[in-house]
Every structure is written in structure tokens, then in C-alpha cells.
């Protein structure tokens, strides 16, 4: 259980979170910002997703919960490759009441801290739709740099959208480089 603020915590997802997830992951406004296309999720889909995450060796997901332990979003690391020392950070805040208060930055900060300090990773990547200016701005502020644009990688609302690829190396996160053979 990881405390972000007095009101917000991160913990492992439980089956009981699927109801809240079912709400926000089917919300068109929220879904529009996410990189994954979805034809919509049923409660079973989400329960299965929670279970899959539990067993996964390449992903770690946390539920973002409020002071009453209600799930208001999720975040985590995916495509974790310890040999290469790389993973992708994901975040989805499901309730608009919680956006715009610096929460996203705090949560990403926590996930990065875990990635570098606990998972001993070297590089964290992010994939963001070019239309998601808020996420792009936030990530750049944290120190992520662009690695290119995967053109027209998604189809959303009648148009093709680009994926912006960003990355943050541990050495720029201020914790020092993981020992590297040339050093």
C-alpha cells in the first residue's frame, strides 16, 4: 500500500474494483485518451483483467484508491524487461474530480520511484496519443524526452492518431545510472 496523499493510495487491484473500473473504462471521454482501443469492457472482462495482472510477470498494476478504498483509476508498469532494464508506465485517472490537481504527477512519480528504486530498471517509456496534450506536457515536465512518433497508429473518432514515444532514463531521474559495463 503506497500513500500518494492523505486522500489517495496505490494498492494491488482486487476483484471488487471491477465495478468502478467498469464505470470509468467505458466512459467515452476517458477512453478517448487511452492508447488502447476497446470495444467496451464487461464486468467479466475487467474481473479477468484483474486476475491476469495478478499472475503477470511482465506487468505490475496498481489500483488508485481514495480514502474509502474506492478505486478511482489505475496505474502501473507494463512490458517490464529486466534484462534490458526497460518498462512502460501507464496511468488512467477515472474520475474527473481528481484531475488537474497534480495527482497525475504524484502518481507517475511514485511509479517511477518503484521502477528505478525497487525494480532496478534503467529506462521507463511512455506511449501517449499526440492528441493528449495534458499527458504530454506532464511527462515532459517530469523529464521524459521524445524518441519519435509512431504515425497513424490508432483509429479514433473517425481519424488516425499518432503515438508519441517518450522515455526517461534513470540517470535523468536523479538516482544515478545502473552500473553499466563501460563505466
Amino acid at each position: 500500500m503506497l500513500k500518494i496523499t492523505e486522500q489517495i493510495y496505490l494498492r494491488r487491484p482486487e476483484p471488487s474494483d471491477s465495478e468502478a473500473m467498469h464505470q470509468y473504462r467505458n466512459d467515452p471521454e476517458i477512453a478517448a485518451a487511452l492508447t488502447q482501443f476497446s470495444k467496451g469492457y464487461s464486468r467479466n472482462d475487467l474481473a479477468e483483467w484483474v486476475e491476469r495482472q495478478r499472475k503477470s510477470s511482465t506487468d505490475i498494476v496498481w489500483a488508485i484508491v481514495d480514502a474509502n478504498d474506492n478505486c478511482i483509476g489505475h496505474c502501473g508498469l507494463s512490458e517490464i524487461n529486466s534484462r534490458n532494464g526497460v518498462a512502460i508506465v501507464d496511468i488512467c485517472i477515472g474520475q474527473s474530480a481528481f484531475s488537474g490537481k497534480g495527482l497525475g504527477e504524484a502518481i507517475i512519480g511514485s511509479v517511477l520511484d518503484y521502477a528505478f528504486q525497487q525494480m532496478n530498471l534503467r529506462k521507463v517509456r511512455a506511449k501517449v496519443l499526440s492528441s493528449n496534450a495534458i499527458a504530454l506536457g506532464l511527462l515532459r515536465k517530469i523529464g521524459f524526452e521524445s524518441e519519435g512518433i509512431l504515425r497513424e497508429a490508432k483509429y479514433r473518432n473517425g481519424q488516425y492518431l499518432d503515438f508519441h514515444m517518450l522515455a526517461l532514463f534513470r540517470r535523468n531521474w536523479g538516482q544515478g545510472e545502473k552500473p553499466c559495463p563501460q563505466n
Binding site: 510477470s57 529486466s82 534484462r83 534490458n84 532494464g85 525497487q118 525494480m119 532496478n120 552500473p179 559495463p181
Partner: protein
């Protein structure tokens, strides 16, 4: 990938290796030196072991194959932990004609190189029984440093035996000196 070591090849274990392994892994002289205790292996045990290694995500084991592709021993990296960057190494040369020469050294060199150059590990560990003088001296010679001794840790041939725990950091690894 398969790793060439002189005329030998380190390659993934195959069912056809079972017979050779069955012989040397039940040979008392060879077994006495090994860190792990065993009540003896049947051919079925060896077959299962080959299949388990194939699927394992924590270990990488190679058969040491001679020029005729016959198994003369095995070696590998065990308990590979990519987060801590550590793995254990072990080698077992089963064919008498290959024991005592440069083979062991060259094979371990190749395994350690693989651990650092391909798996991006940071530290290799090796455990050696105090009764295995040859292995103790060999391990020190290739650059491992003794980190601790687990006293009277194992039981062999009616006696308690110490286990010497060795470690080799990538920063201290210099294959050119060997």
C-alpha cells in the same frame, strides 16, 4: 544461442543426452563433488530434468557437447534474478578425458561472459563444498572472491561439510588474465 568453446559447443539439452547424463550423474566420484545432494537419478529423472530445463525461466542450462555432439557434461546459470542482477553458476564435467585440463576453465569463462554480456547480470555466485579442494582452488583462480563460509552446512559421507560461498562482480571480471 549455441556457444563455441574451442572444439566444444555449449548447447541446449536434448533427450539424446539423457544416457550420458544418467551415467555421470550417478558416478560416486563426480557426485561427491557436487553441491546438491541427490538420492540418485533414473533415466526418467534425467528425461524430466531435460524437459524442465527447456521450460525454465529461472535457469539456463547448457550441455557441453564434444565434436561428435555427445554430452560430456553440463553447466549453467541458476536462480537468475534480473532485478538484483545475480545468478549462480555451476559446472559438471562428466567425461574423464575432459576433467583436470583447461576445459573447465574455458567453459566457465564462456558461461560468465554470457551472464555479463548477454543477460546483463551484475554478479555471479558459486557455492563449493570444502571437501572439493580442486574446485575451491579453481574458483579462486578464475577471480571469484570468498564471501562467507556456511559451517557444517552439508552432510556427505558421514561428515558435516562446510559450504564456501563465492561471488564475482562484473567490474572485477577480467577474462584476459585467465
Amino acid at each position: 544461442m549455441a556457444i563455441s568453446v574451442g572444439d566444444l559447443l555449449l548447447r541446449r539439452p536434448e533427450p539424446k543426452d539423457v544416457e550420458a547424463m544418467y551415467r555421470y550423474r550417478n558416478d560416486p566420484e563426480i557426485v561427491a563433488a557436487l553441491g546438491a545432494f541427490s538420492k540418485g537419478y533414473s533415466r526418467s529423472d534425467m528425461m524430466e530434468w531435460v524437459e524442465r530445463q527447456r521450460k525454465s525461466t529461472d535457469d539456463i542450462v547448457w550441455v557441453i557437447a564434444d565434436a561428435q555432439d555427445n554430452c560430456i557434461g553440463h553447466c549453467g546459470l541458476y536462480q537468475i534474478n534480473s532485478i538484483t542482477g545475480v545468478a549462480e553458476t555451476a559446472i559438471c564435467i562428466g567425461a574423464p578425458s575432459f576433467r583436470g585440463g583447461q576445459t573447465g576453465r574455458e567453459v566457465i569463462k564462456a558461461v560468465i561472459n554470457y551472464a555479463f554480456e548477454q543477460l546483463n547480470l551484475r554478479k555471479i555466485r558459486g557455492d563449493v563444498l570444502s571437501s572439493n579442494k580442486i574446485s575451491l582452488s579453481f574458483t579462486r583462480k578464475i577471480g571469484f572472491k570468498e564471501e562467507c563460509v556456511l559451517h557444517e552446512q552439508e552432510y556427505r559421507n558421514g561428515q558435516y561439510v562446510d559450504v564456501h560461498v563465492f561471488g564475482l562482480f562484473r567490474r572485477d571480471w577480467n577474462p584476459e588474465l585467465l
